[in-house]
Symmetry: C2
Subunit: 307 residues, 2 copies
Amino acid sequence: MAAFNFNKLVIFGVGLIGGSLARALRERAGLAGEVVGVGRSVKTIERALELGVIDSAASLDDDIALGKALAGADFVLLAAPVAQTEPLLTRIAPFLDASTVVTDAGSTKSDVVAAARAALGAKVAQFVPGHPIAGRESSGVDAALPDLYVGRNVVLCPLAENPAQAVERVEAMWLATGASVHRMSEAQHDRVFAAVSHLPHVASFALVEQILEAPDATLKFSFAAGGFRDFTRIAASSPEMWRDVCIANRAALLAELDAYTTVLARFRAAIDASDGAALEQAFARSRVARTEWQERGGAKPGETPAK
Amino acid sequence: MAAFNFNKLVIFGVGLIGGSLARALRERAGLAGEVVGVGRSVKTIERALELGVIDSAASLDDDIALGKALAGADFVLLAAPVAQTEPLLTRIAPFLDASTVVTDAGSTKSDVVAAARAALGAKVAQFVPGHPIAGRESSGVDAALPDLYVGRNVVLCPLAENPAQAVERVEAMWLATGASVHRMSEAQHDRVFAAVSHLPHVASFALVEQILEAPDATLKFSFAAGGFRDFTRIAASSPEMWRDVCIANRAALLAELDAYTTVLARFRAAIDASDGAALEQAFARSRVARTEWQERGGAKPGETPAK
């Protein structure tokens, strides 16, 4: 049993992430609280009701309905695109009970924290920034699963203003879904994901772009094989989402990108000088690290790119 | 039936590539010629004899045995590391019958052509450079398969000196294995594979290297997920082999690497300027190209990185 009250959860953006949290708390943790869905898309909300993922719905534009939805909520989860964090929290703020804890599922955190401070003022103490590292190829509430978070990592980036109890409640909620919970600062979070997720996406998009620009692009694509396939799988990711991530995590991503081009420049110099020893040493280091990472468990087979 | 004589094939380097060619011609094409294996490793040669992949063996160091092995050969295949091309051809040249066609399986071609010209002199007319795009996770003669080349591409880079008939014979031999055969210049070959194979390997090694150099490397690896997994799968490739490929294809690889860092610099500028439109346009172009490539057949599921 999870050591927290679960009488009411309000989800802003009932898709894969929000829907899976609701299903996990109900179907996996056996918690029987009420789940309210709020979203701009009537279709999505109706489908979530139809699937039983949420019990009731409220319109974001209706003060009375929104106030009713938020009254007495234990948890609020923001699972909408990161760029909507500030307008959503601004809208929510006036209706927020003092006992409600708000968290989010955004894939970047420094920008979310800045948005939360701007929108909530002193009430930012009620906001515990979070990032569940989970996904599937498919999205939307139909793809929501009660087991989506089992064995996955959730990162929380507590604020100095957060009471310990608020952080513990969000932690307990995620633990009840079967996830592991980790804490780090929002700056550390953004550095980690810039390095292991955002930069690989940019580098993969860039490789396809480079081939496309070549006069012999068609010939090149026709001989692309397994190495190209693996390296560029993530270049088929959503352009809109990755545009937003790149801009939301700009500072950390630029730092990682610069570090990456520094390594590429060093490799270039070694290739230019036919310095086989330097190349072999570096490649061998990478091979060992990559192999050890895989042996420690790597990423789960069904796990999609971390956002 | 293949339209070429197959009385004798001599393979230098009886591993996955050479062994699979022998097995394909015998077991798939039903050709009954003699297969002779030549290699430095007694163990490999003995294993190839044991498996019935070759009928007899010759030592590279024994003039009489080598002369006997090469006498009356229809085909010679070099399937040893590319760096051994020049010494091997120098050793073979004095024993080469005028009717023998020599080809190779090297993953780079400009360097192989230069080595062949240096080693063979006028006899370079008998050498038709080739590159079968096939591989498996496992290597060595035990991994050799009669169907390895079915549906795969083989690139031939005919020389101006090659008689049309010599090229046609090598083409017919590869067609008999079930492969598709394509012709292009060695410079074009090296540009294509620098772009779709060699550069992705270098870029993947570089990403792991960059994370390794960070003070928070352990934390970063612990949160690496599906995007990292796909992007860096090829960073577990053989450091020795990729060292050799980088140096052998240096000129073409440097050109592709420079084009790549130019695209990365453009992406960097767009991220720095928060130019969402430019990022989304580029990412969308890549996504379409990558998706169309996959829909046209992509790489076969079992296909390892093109060398």
